[in-house]
């Protein structure tokens, strides 16, 4: 089904924020904001929930800690107990101090890479993806609000355009998308 999209362009992040506030207060659903840098405070206005990537990082970190612990217990204690200068090697706990540096490094390694990969996949930003910003200037100094007709069916086309026009926009663009 074809959908009509309105792109309202601003030249200032604060004007966009006020505009988004106004639109939302009128009951308009803002489906997306494109900006060259993070606009602080826009997320609650347009109803974007905070990311849960922090939890992902924690889970990867725990995995790293467990893997490192298990690995070193297997290599150094169970599989081939090395006797180096008569240092205690009978149990993992006897030797734990020597294992802390690598446990830490491996935890960080897993957390950082696990989170980074999840981040790229969730964003669908992977090599070869086409750019999806509506205007090339949105990575420079322009800020765009995207409104979808299908999400704002209580308003007519003209009503939406009129509402947007009252928010200090510099350009307006309408597109049909499939």
């Amino acid at each position: 089904m074809a959908d009509k999209v309105i792109y309202a362009m601003y030249d200032d992040d604060d004007v966009l924020k006020d505009g988004a506030k106004l639109l939302v207060s009128k009951g308009v659903k803002v489906s997306e904001v494109f900006s060259p840098f993070p606009i602080h405070g826009i997320d609650p206005i347009i109803g974007i929930k905070n990311t849960r990537l922090g939890i992902v990082a924690f889970l990867f970190a725990i995995t790293g800690t467990l893997l490192a612990t298990y690995g070193m217990k297997f290599f150094m204690i169970s599989d081939w107990p090395m006797n180096i200068g008569g240092k205690p090697n009978a149990t993992y706990m006897d030797n734990i101090l020597a294992f802390i540096p690598i446990t830490f490094e491996f935890t960080v390694l897993c957390a950082a890479h696990g989170m980074a990969i999840t981040y790229l996949l969730r964003n669908k930003t992977i090599p070869g993806m086409p750019a999806q910003n509506p205007d090339p200037r949105t990575t420079d100094d322009r800020f765009v609000i995207e409104l979808r007709q299908s999400e704002n069916s209580q308003f007519s086309d003209e009503e939406l355009v009129n509402l947007v026009q009252g928010t200090g926009i510099v350009e307006l663009d309408q597109k049909e998308i499939k």
Partner: protein, 470 residues
């Protein structure tokens, strides 16, 4: 929201708009490279290739071509390794630690400092690898199942900790750097006119579009990566110092090593950032973004870490005397007054005396003075590692084995070669990558840009709007 006192010098000078920032950063990438770039690149490349030649000769012939001998088994190789790793500490410190401390001035320098870090760690990582002699067996440091029964690598050894520390540091640093680069590549992609650059930057930008949700994730990922990288920075050089501290060589076997090495690493890293940044800001016309205020802050870091290093030197001396251990005492007397007194004296002058000059405001705000000191500091820090490594080894328990270390031309070639390669990488970076985190810098334009800062409509201190008369 970032608020800044009216009397603080703005971080962005001049009357910049968002578009100006994009222009200023992208221009050097889009324009033709100046002649000086080609000249510098040519020189760096020749030196780098000479270094590669030396390494090839070394690998083909054996470690014997270095000036090592039976008494001194570690010399320039490990000195260079520690020196480069140390230099590679500033970037992550700037981007991670200063992010956690909400230091906005980091935004102008973090990108290139991180690039510098990554290239420095490349150079560092090369030394242990070529020190193996048989580079192609380098994968033996990994805990892989192998044909020698179930013999694993020794997880009790600080040298193995180092393998994990350096590789984690390098890869996490790379990820942190690249995640920050993605939105800036998107900016260059959207400006590119010619088809090949457009294609290249499209691939590099991973299809970044700047959606609000993506920025939300971006900020959290940066924060968490900073949180992970902060202890990582401190752990890496601590572990490097364990290579020495856990041994039983007098002069190495000290508990002060981890903090002392970390301070030294930050000290030399910031010095290298200063050296590169002072040239880069001029060459690329970024004086509005990297200026005296940034230089002064970095000089204060150099002063503080330099003082920590100075205190550590003196503590070491005191503790060696206080320990009552004859060998320990001799190691330090020999360092200061033995045949390597000149190395010790250079280390003391460059690292202890020179950063103290930064107490004088005029000097720490002087760009030329900073440039000279930044080079002096890195010479001093190279001597520090040389003093620690060579003077502790060259006179061991058996006086008949006492000897001196003389570097061979291969020693020198490999070292100088890594400096060449480092600059090859850095010059390529400066040519093709955005050297400033341009989209991050835009976030501080309104709070710390000169034209916005004390303007009445955006101002935080309305009544003081006239006081900004700079």
């Amino acid at each position: 929201m970032h608020k800044e006192a009216a009397i603080r010098e703005p971080l962005i000078l001049g009357h910049k708009t968002y578009h100006d920032i994009t222009e200023d950063v992208c221009k050097p990438i889009e324009d033709k490279a100046p002649k000086t770039w080609y000249v510098l690149f040519g020189i760096a490349l020749i030196i780098g290739l000479y270094g590669i030649g030396c390494i090839a000769y070394l690998l083909g012939t054996g470690i014997g071509v270095w000036g090592l001998n039976k008494t001194i088994g570690w010399a320039w190789d490990i000195t260079n390794f520690v020196w480069w790793v140390g230099i590679g500490h500033a970037g992550t410190l700037i981007s991670a630690v200063l992010l956690l401390f909400r230091q906005k001035w980091r935004m102008a320098i973090n990108r290139s400092a991180e690039a510098m870090t990554i290239f420095a760690v490349f150079m560092a990582g090369m030394f242990p690898l070529i020190h193996m002699g048989r580079l192609w067996l380098g994968y033996w440091v990994l805990p892989l199942p192998n044909q020698f029964g179930s013999l694993w690598v020794n997880f009790n050894s600080p040298l193995l900790w180092d393998v994990f520390a350096i590789s984690t540091y390098l890869s996490v640093g790379l990820v942190f750097w690249y995640i920050g680069l993605i939105p800036d590549f998107a900016t260059i992609r959207d400006r590119a006119k010619r088809p090949i650059p457009k294609k290249m930057y499209s691939i590099l930008a991973f299809g970044w579009s700047g959606r609000a949700k993506h920025w939300n994730r971006f900020e959290l990922v940066s924060l968490v990566l900073a949180g992970l990288a902060t202890p990582l920075v401190f752990s890496v050089h601590s572990i490097v110092s364990f290579d020495f501290a856990t041994s039983v060589i007098p002069g190495w076997h000290t508990t002060i090593f981890p903090p002392y090495f970390v301070a030294g690493a930050v000290f030399s890293g910031f010095a290298m950032v200063q050296t590169l940044m002072l040239v880069m800001r001029k060459a690329m016309g970024l004086e509005a973004y990297i200026h005296t205020r940034h230089v002064e802050y970095m000089n204060i870091v150099i002063m503080v870490t330099g003082s920590i290093v100075g205190v550590a030197y003196l503590t070491e001396l005191f503790v060696s005397w206080y320990s009552g251990v004859e060998y320990e005492q001799y190691a330090f007397i020999n360092r200061a007054t033995g045949p390597y007194w000149w190395a010790y004296a250079s280390m003391m002058t460059c690292n202890v005396v020179s950063p103290q000059l930064m107490w004088i405001k005029k000097l720490r705000r002087s760009l030329i003075f900073t440039f000279i000191i930044s080079i002096v500091v890195n010479i001093g820090m190279w001597f520090e590692r040389y003093v620690i490594i060579v003077t502790s080894l060259h006179r061991d328990y058996l006086p008949s084995s006492w000897t001196m270390h003389f570097p061979s031309h291969i020693d020198i070639g490999v070292y100088v070669g890594t400096i060449g390669l480092f600059f090859v990488f850095f010059l390529l970076f400066a040519r093709f990558f955005p050297v400033l985190a341009l989209n991050e810098v835009k976030t501080i334009l309104k709070s710390s840009g000169e034209s916005y800062k004390n303007a009445p409509d955006h101002g935080h201190v309305e009544e003081n709007s006239n006081s900004n008369n700079q």
